[in-house]
Symmetry: C2
Subunit: 396 residues, 2 copies
């Protein structure tokens, strides 16, 4: 009888423990998720989960495959991160539990991803098989497969972004086309295909208001821009001199188009193959000036208030950051964080910037007003830094 009681109590106990254990493995304390983020550790197939209030890493998540050129988007509740790997891996990471919730390998060769404005759809841009695949953000079950078929076969796709109204926009490297996949009426997209975009589009961006989609061209100079507010949507050629140029300058690294920053009334662009940044008028989309900088720029990122732009550089100048005042277009500060500064991410209100210094195995945190270093966080070959506040923004 007593034996039975003990057994019963133990069973109840086990039940309570495991029941609660499922809800809180490791007894994770309750916490907000608005100040979390991820750092890609490129060479170790891992990511660090970071806490921007503590200025510290809180967990490492491993087993994420090839993370070269990895990118990340976040769920609307800012609990989950979706990591897009170079090898077609799509990993859903729980920022609270510090573990992989679900992982699929959705293609053989992939670059870039996006999440719909309502947070329900995650899209991946693939080289092999060429096209875009769209997944349910809860389950990672495939919702839609959009092969990039054109007259000569199947194209690699690049420059995938989310646009308002459950839409994704991307471009076809081989075909020189831009497609819009509109999921506003459900799981079956309405496709709009626009031809004549230019030779070998290599990257794309969407402005933070979701209005303009811009495509960089590898096969010719200039860019194509689409005003998504107009009907019909058609490309317009801008910045005819922008690109590798007739002299075929040696380009150490094609600049990231995500690095296009809107600072006040001007976009700031990294020049291609030249130690310059370009200023482009927001209304006319014409070049209105250049600023000489320390090396070939990779990212030119505006502080969220638009007053300063922080610029990093390609090898052999990648130990340096320059800060440019957008009122005067002059370099006002220079930092030497260390070897291989790969990425800069501002806190959403711009008071701090987080910098990955790959070959120092550090993430550094700076006060953006007085440029003092606030913290150093050990990380293994850190590259991209992605904060959960991106969940609230278009085109990131």
């Amino acid at each position: 009888m007593m034996r039975c009681g003990a057994l019963f109590a133990s069973m109840i106990c086990l039940f309570l423990w495991s029941g609660l254990g499922v809800a809180h493995p490791g007894q994770e304390p309750l916490r907000g998720t608005g100040n979390l983020g991820l750092v890609i550790e490129r060479s170790t197939a891992s990511v660090l989960i970071i806490d921007t209030t503590k200025r510290a890493s809180v967990a490492r998540v491993e087993g994420l495959g090839d993370l070269s050129h990895a990118s990340v988007v976040f769920s609307s509740d800012q609990r989950f991160a979706f990591v897009f790997g170079r090898d077609g891996g799509l990993s859903k990471i729980d920022l609270l539990l510090g573990k992989v919730t679900k992982r699929i390998v959705q293609a053989g060769n992939s670059i870039g991803g996006a999440i719909s404005d309502d947070g329900t759809l995650v899209a991946c841009s693939n080289y092999e098989p060429g096209g875009v695949r769209v997944f349910d953000s809860k389950t990672l079950k495939m919702v839609a497969d959009i092969p990039a078929k054109w007259t000569n076969g199947v194209s690699k796709t690049i420059g995938l972004v989310d646009a308002p109204g459950r839409r994704f926009v991307f471009s076809l490297w081989d075909a020189g086309e831009t497609w819009i996949a509109d999921f506003s009426s459900g799981a079956t997209p309405v496709l709009t295909k626009i031809k004549g975009v230019g030779k070998q589009p290599y990257d794309g961006l969407i402005t933070s208001d979701g209005r303009y989609y811009m495509v960089g061209l590898f096969g010719e100079d200039g860019m194509s821009v689409f005003d998504l507010w107009q009907k019909p949507i058609s490309p317009r050629r801008i910045l005819s001199g922008y690109g590798r140029g007739e002299t075929r300058l040696p380009v150490y690294k094609m600049p990231h188009l995500e690095g296009w920053a809107l600072a006040g009334d001007r976009f700031v662009l990294p020049a291609v193959g030249r130690s310059e940044i370009l200023w482009v008028d927001k209304r006319s989309l014409e070049e209105v000036g250049r600023t000489k900088v320390h090396g070939q720029p990779v990212f030119a990122v505006a502080r969220p208030d638009g007053r300063h732009v922080w610029v990093n550089f390609a090898h052999p100048n990648n130990d340096t950051i320059q800060v440019i005042d957008t009122l005067t277009a002059a370099v006002v500060h220079q930092l030497k964080p260390g070897p291989a500064v790969l990425h800069m991410e501002f806190l959403p209100r711009g008071n701090e910037v987080w910098v990955s210094v790959r070959d120092s195995n550090l993430v550094q945190v700076y006060n953006t007003r007085d440029f003092t270093k606030l913290a150093e966080i050990p990380a293994k070959t850190p590259s991209g830094i992605f904060l959960a506040s991106r969940a609230n923004r278009t085109g990131l």
Copy 2:
């Protein structure tokens, strides 16, 4: 022996249960906080905590005092909300536990509050005693007391906003001054006092980039604007016809200046005392057009992408919302949500808008593309709706 075993097992069981219970009162499940928000229930001293993914309320928190004209800011981690009551109450609410963490009555008569860009300081604007008080966001202990002393006594303060660089900006109703309190070097603010702002400043706003602070005047027409990027900072008078006018129009409700929206290159303003909205060029700050609307506008809020502006109205037209296309400046849609539409809040990426309909005791949720109603959530006399994503934005 067995009896002992049973007891022991039960004790272990109790220990585990209570131990976990301490970490998670009510055994709240782990969850992200990026999709939470608050609805002010004006007449019952309570707020609803809402979940924008579920489109539902998840808790009610009571005992918050006089919530007429209440406003809310959020901690950087998006776990806590700070509710500013009309009676000087400052309540810190835990969105995960659904309860008041700390509540103080910091003044006798108060309106408005703000949180510093680094999330560490919460400021309250007070009528009685006139001035601004600043609190540690963790503890609600007072960090600084800034009485609004001027030549004729102590002034009521209004139009309190946060500006980049741990600064707060506010104006003095009686004195016609604007003050900047700069906490960038610690807990003791450096004060800048600017005189000659105009008669009876009644409200203020800061643009979302933190550059311009604008002050509405009750005692005369026109507004004062400050460019916070220039040194020295001095006021400039704009929109000389903006205000109650020489004919002293009957004004049912002074429009909220927080309702100034930036849509593309133009600000959209509710006119004072007229059934119109005004378009103001962002660069020149001059009026460039007007659109006739259904009644005297209260809020004119831009959808986050800037394509549409949603407008609600003062009594007796407060059952209606009009939607204006910012490309054409034309009204493109009209809704009748019900009696006393008091506030509209967009999800951060603009796909939905949440609307409080006070006299229907409902919060309604609309798809912003096709204007379909997605949900109705019961609420007691709902007024302001505040989403946790405001934590990431300046001047909200």
